[in-house]
């Protein structure tokens, strides 16, 4: 059934992405592709993989933005984006076949590849671009939150996290139950002011983003970007001034 669960699940498994930490190395994207091409929605196919115009299915993409404030201050934000496993997932009810569904036990949004007819409507309904069509298989694919890893009893408990989380070299990604307010991830969201993407779309995303921490105020007390001043030679001694004069010719 592609209706959303009647009651939102108590358990809401999801990710917390710390934009203060992410260095934009794309390791999460690459390891996601690596794990999932052998996982639940395998394979993640590519077309023309070694040719001039390669294109393929990825569940996780890392964008980079410059934030320019009205004061003139600016900074860079590396922004990983994957399925947010929304509570009111707009991709689920639009599915005409029952292939797209949200699990009532933990809130993970999945696709049953045997039912999908490849109409692409779910990808139109998702405002975040979390779903990508597999041209080879003719079906839609999306982040599974590594469902085949997080519940995998053949792995040591510490490895039962999504591959984007386990591979992040900077520790920018956390995984846990965002429905439990005492979980580590919920505490992190509370402490750091974690927020939803596109709240106006009414999707109630499970995944949260942590904003970059405020910059150190001492560096820019006047509200100006810290920058190098040009060299002032007027206070230098006679030899230094003579060297500067000779070398400036």
């Amino acid at each position: 059934m592609t209706s959303l669960p009647a009651q939102p699940s108590k358990k809401k498994l999801g990710l917390v992405v710390d934009l203060d930490i992410c260095v934009g190395c794309h390791a999460c994207s690459v390891n996601c592709k690596e794990w999932n091409t052998g996982g639940h929605s395998a394979p993640l196919t590519d077309q023309d993989a070694y040719g001039a115009n390669p294109i393929g299915v990825w569940f996780n993409r890392v964008h980079s933005y410059e934030i320019v404030q009205d004061t003139g201050k600016s900074w860079t934000v590396n922004f990983p984006k994957s399925c947010l496993h929304c509570e009111d997932a707009p991709c689920v009810p639009v599915c005409p076949t029952g292939a797209s569904y949200k699990r009532s036990e933990d809130g993970i949004v999945l696709i049953n590849g045997d039912y999908c007819i490849g109409c692409k409507l779910c990808s139109w309904a998702c405002p975040y671009g979390a779903r990508e069509f597999d041209e080879d298989a003719g079906i839609m694919k999306k982040c599974t939150l590594c469902i085949d890893k997080i519940y995998n009893e053949n792995l040591e408990p510490q490895y039962r996290v999504p591959s984007c989380v386990s591979t992040c070299p900077a520790g920018a990604r956390s995984f846990g139950d965002l429905g439990d307010e005492n979980s580590d991830v919920s505490k992190l969201v509370k402490a750091r002011g974690g927020y939803d993407l596109m709240p106006e779309q009414g999707t109630k995303p499970t995944n949260k983003y942590l904003p970059p921490r405020p910059r150190n105020a001492e560096n820019d007390a006047n509200g100006q970007q810290a920058k190098l001043d040009s060299v002032d030679t007027s206070g230098a001694n006679v030899i230094a001034r003579w060297v500067d004069k000779v070398l400036s010719r």
């Binding site: 294109i55 320019v68 009205d70 707009p90 292939a99 039912y115 007819i117 109409c119 692409k120 106006e200």
Partner: protein, 318 residues
Amino acid sequence: MHPAKSVIAFTTATGAGYGLLIFMIALNMAGLLPSDATFALLGFGLAFAMISAGLMASTFHLGHPERAWRALTQWRSSWLSREGVMAIFAYGPTGLYGLVWYMSPETLATPLMMAVGLVGIVSCLITVYCTSMIYASLKAIFSWANSWVPASYLVLSLMTGALLCDLFAYAFGFSTTVLDIAVLVLLAAGLLVKLGYWKYVAQTVNPTTPETAIGLPTAQGGKVRVLESSHTEDNYLLKEMGFAVARKHAAKLRMIAIVAGFVAPVFLVWCSSILSDSIAVYPLYSAVFVCAVGIVVERWLFFAEAKHAVMMYYGENS
């Protein structure tokens, strides 16, 4: 959004087909179209051909057409599924009405066949409404998620259907002033509803912006600028939702849609209504042709001009 040929063919052809069925049945029930067997055969035949071809076209773009039957199962939640169920249901009463019209037209006046005709008309209208709601229910595409969309799909379906019905009526010498006036009123209504839609889209502010998309900057105001794309090559999202060609020629294409889809047909239908019976049908042939061109351009623009929220992540402005 990428304007797929299959979806343009599906929405325009089925819309005109259902509109034609509605006018054939309604005018016959009102006693304004005679119960001529050949007329019924051609009218219903063309309508069912257009509807069936449109439905077939919509399955061409599926990744797994052989599983298309599954799309009939989720009518509780999905407008696409509802559309499929209604499209199949509508064949029943409309097909029966057409068959009876062809086989024993005198039976059409019975209360039972009047009821069948009425159910047929209503099921055609519901099917077109379901088609429009496939698009109007997508909040992620700001210019679609409004009631102008179902309004324009319904009016344009009736308009194109009435025009086709008028052509048949003239070709068989069954033309009536009522139908001529209905076509002219619907052409005017079609133009108004499209102008209203375009005005609405131009004047309404999309709440989704690049700033809400990445959720920064939170407090002090400011702007988000793309520094580096998340991938060096093309991807599915850009191909399917990043279509931007239309914006370049949008004003000219809208003018073509207005003139070919509405203004020229009004003039040509008026010509037919004042010409002598022997030549009156010829302006209507041209009217159907230019209107078809105009409506295809209109539908192409409907898809191509629509901006998807995900493009905020790729440097699009709201």
